[in-house]
Symmetry: C3
Subunit: 328 residues, 3 copies
């Protein structure tokens, strides 16, 4: 938070929107509608929380036009109150610039290229010939293997591993023969990569992550995967080798996408779904066993193992009934 805070009218001057109430109010930080107090700005985006708007003690609130009368507190009216909130928060909490942008403990290989304003925190290891674009930030203990390229303004969280070998082996008798993984990982601009996420280098050609892609924590991206611009994936997702993910796709937490498949643009995969076939048309796709009390699940799961037979029995019933109907 900045030392003196920012006046509400100053925020509107910088970010637009219209101001209702006292523009001289100073804002130091953000808070939730329920938790915010003096010096804190909050926002309402989801109408579900409308009742909290009336009772909020926030110093100011960002609201969409439809809810601008829901409080008498000083407020900024903005068409998209959530993106407006994001911009205010970015203003109030600028990224901290460490005293030494590349921490002395960082290990840089030969011929590493670092852009302007790159920040690399302690414990990172950057392999030979890797490059990191302007304004990118690597949090502690990130490993970037040799030859990988990271674009501008990347934000890579602790423990992420970029460019480890893909999982490539040829069966040789009962043993596995290593296929050298000679491709790279190429990451576009404005990409965020979560903590302990791993992105493997390509087997021959490169693994490619498009511009604006956002990957949460503990995601595994296999070799030669191509992820289109502005795709976003939640935690614990696994993408097997050579899958192609379209632009603006979203993948819910814990979903698994098998190898060599193609997801078209604007495909959305629900959490916990195993995608075992290509999905070329836009839309939401799901496959997950509904949770229920264990006893109920036991019964239903037992029948699931005989579903094919149950369908045969229904077919048999239909035939017999049809014969009976003819007779009667």
């Amino acid at each position: 938070m900045t030392g003196e805070g920012i006046r509400l009218d100053e925020i509107v001057a910088r970010l637009g929107g219209s101001l209702l109430g006292d523009g001289a109010v100073r804002i130091w930080g953000v808070g939730t509608l329920a938790g915010a107090g003096e010096g804190q700005i909050s926002f309402l985006s989801n109408p579900k929380y409308r009742s909290q708007l009336a009772s909020t003690r926030a110093a100011a609130v960002i609201v969409p036009p439809a809810m601008q009368d829901g409080t008498e507190r000083p407020r900024i009216v903005a068409a998209n109150s959530y993106t407006y909130y994001a911009r205010v928060a970015q203003l109030l909490y600028p990224a901290r610039q460490p005293k030494t942008p590349v921490h002395p403990s960082v290990v840089l290989g030969q011929d590493v290229q670092l852009g302007e304003g790159v920040v690399i925190h302690a414990g990172c290891v950057i392999g030979d010939g890797a490059s990191i674009g302007d304004g990118s930030v690597l949090h502690p203990n990130v490993t970037v293997y040799a030859g990988c390229r990271i674009g501008k303004r990347a934000l890579i969280h602790a423990g992420a591993v970029i460019g480890a070998d893909g999982f490539g082996f040829a069966k040789d008798g009962e043993a596995w023969l290593k296929i050298p993984q000679v491709g790279r990982v190429i990451i576009g601009d404005d990409v965020e990569i979560g903590a302990n996420t791993t992105i493997d280098r390509g087997a021959i050609e490169d693994t490619v992550i498009g511009d604006g892609v956002k990957l949460d924590n503990q995601i595994q991206v296999g070799h030669n995967v191509v992820i289109g611009d502005h795709a976003a994936m939640a935690g614990c997702v696994g993408i097997a080798g050579s899958a192609r993910i379209g632009r603006r796709c979203t993948v819910g937490g814990g979903a698994i996408i098998l190898g060599h498949l193609e997801l078209g643009d604007d495909v959305h995969v629900s959490s916990g779904t195993l995608v075992a076939k290509s999905l070329k048309q836009p839309g939401q796709y799901t496959g997950a066993f509904p949770v229920e009390r264990h006893e109920g699940w036991l019964k239903n799961a037992a029948h699931l193992r005989h579903l094919s037979k149950l369908a045969d029995r229904v077919h048999e019933l239909e035939k017999k009934l049809s014969e009976l109907e003819k007779k009667s």
Copy 2:
């Protein structure tokens, strides 16, 4: 293991229970019933392994009263033989105290607070203003981001990441706008966190892990999750943002809990289950496709995609049959 071992009667003097057989036997370590030999103590807790009790060569055995006659070896009789075993093992294998409690390679930010007896192994990075309570141990290469608070007697395994940014973005056209993540991670006392587990900082308010919580490896805890005291989760679990997990809940390996849900106290989620709705009543909940031979699965899964139609056909049959019955 201690140099001279501990006499069996000394163990009973310290930990209680009743002794049958030679109390002068010296114990240096632990072993399984099948594998233990001279100087090793074993235990029987699960009646399934009762037959191993008769043939064990362990120097001594910890047994519940009901099985105290299952062997003639020196033995300690304790109501709960498993917790008794845990205490004996803690006695025999005290945590090693490294010569330098905070390894010289550790990177500490500004204003970090470390309690009494904190041990931090090599390669850890602790952000500005973080605090770690008395007696906590951080294994190698752990990252704690700025401002996070870890309670007393924590045990955090290698590669864990505490306080990385939550996955928060606002859709802005086709791109994603970063929501600064300004909350912290607050961890109670007596918490164990597994290797490469990640716990994200809160978006506005904090992510909170209660006292006595045990998290296995490779777990992902999203921003603003609240986990109640003494909950325990097995490996590869994912908890999405703002989920609230009750006290004493357990979550099996690989389960996924969606965001903004609530699990009441004493809810137990089976392995591999996707929890897509709140579960407020105590009990065991499950949702998982039963494994079977691939050919059988293929048939059943094909019918699953037509289950809704199958149900319609059964309904139709019921109607027709009822009409036929009326006629006949």
Copy 3:
């Protein structure tokens, strides 16, 4: 890539196979059939890509006998073109030997044993009494806990954690009592371990990984698991404690295998499958909800919760129909 490349006839002299076309062609690297150009060798293994063989611009191609006439380019004919390719790639891309095989930032505990030619990259931490066999390579930021043994020619990728405590607790009132984990991890020869994969030490006896086992990224192996020789597992797999996995088993991405189960030799588990019972016979096993459009899934999943009742209704119909048939 070597400075001067290798002549095609030199490759055949070293690796066998038969040469068709100009043996004087020099090869510097590998490429895909579609992407390779001057100086690059490609291969055809999957007949699906046969059409690319006719149009490839690769300097040379490795083909199986059945496809040796699919191009007029210089080519090597080999019974198994994929393993042949693996060996050519190993020739062209020998592992880089760093100037200092054990990077100065590496932290070695007391009594660590390192074999001949071991390479340990920056940021690794090796605990007291651990041993690493000849020719093994540890990429950056790997942690090996005290006492663990790694065989010869291991390749361990960044961020992997070998030997953290298994997840062992005894219920003590509402709290959990720590069971000291006093076993080790014992890893055979020729094992590859992926980035951020974790293998826990045994509770009493050891966790054992056989020779030639290949583990992809982000896999969790619980305490006392035993994995047979030449098993291979894809990313994000979780193996719970004390499971025994047979020789040559394969496990698809994201599969979960519960504790204390046994998979026989040559069992193959499909991606995304939860294995909740022992599978002793060889073969492919699957359990996963098929993905479909969300609306269709909603309908089918709703009926799944009543599958047991649906089966009862079918049974009832069969009874009634049989009675009607008797009457008519």
